[in-house]
Symmetry: C2
Subunit: 151 residues, 2 copies
């Protein structure tokens, strides 16, 4: 039986190091986290900024911080719950965010952070499955962002 | 009719910037470059090192430099041809490397570089479709690596 995910699920990724550098797998089509491949993209966030809140009605996101450090926050208005994840390029991890879960993130590194997303669906330019809530919306049970600038 | 690829094909990726940072799509399942999703992983290379030569018999690779700067070289022993691509995090691009093409890369940035690969096949741990040729093998028509350390 599949484990209930709650707000999201974090998988630590194996970092294989050698003299030349390292390698880590982010998503494989034979992992249980895999629910199909829509596309993959990178979102870059500058220090001092937050990107959020966003949610999707159908899409599952799979986040991996590939450069710098970020705080990713998941939240649910109905249950009043939230969860914080500090993710960094040095300890790669895959954060699965199911449809319906609010999410946002801010850059914690001095330079930009980069998050790779491997969602299970394509972004539809004409009719995107992407919904936004203002960062300071009082119905969202989270208000500990370090930075105030965001959308 | 599909355009013949030669050693490889480079697609410039659109970088959408705003006040918070940027976003760029790397691979979409509705692009003509898409030939199936096996997995995705990041390979990290330190300054002073080369990773190569490698080739696959069945797998097509799709490289994108997501951190730092790298020189990626493609080569073909039979035709005696080679091609150099300098790829950087600031000007994202997707380099498609067909099965059979030798490839290697070295870090050009002061800190590590990171290349995301989105191959069309899964890496099979027991029976990998991955073949290696020594970096200084004289049959390979390329010997302009800045660094000598590699495998």
């Amino acid at each position: 039986m599949k484990k209930k995910q709650g707000l999201g699920a974090l998988k630590k990724l194996a970092l294989r190091k050698d003299s030349r550098g390292a390698l880590f797998e982010i998503m494989r089509s034979d992992w249980r986290e895999f629910g199909g491949f829509g596309q993959t993209y990178i979102t870059v966030c500058k220090p001092g900024w937050v990107k959020g809140w966003h949610f999707h009605k159908k899409q599952t996101d799979n986040f991996c911080v590939v450069k710098g450090k970020a705080l990713v926050v998941l939240a649910d208005i109905r249950s009043g719950k939230s969860a914080e994840y500090v993710l960094s390029e040095d300890a790669p991890a895959l954060l699965t965010i199911p449809a319906g879960t609010l999410h946002g993130f801010e850059c914690l590194s001095k330079k930009e952070c980069r998050i790779l997303n491997v969602p299970d669906r394509l972004y539809n330019y004409k009719k995107p499955d992407e919904y936004r809530i203002q960062l300071d919306d009082e119905s969202v049970p989270y208000r500990k962002w370090r930075n105030r600038k965001g959308w």
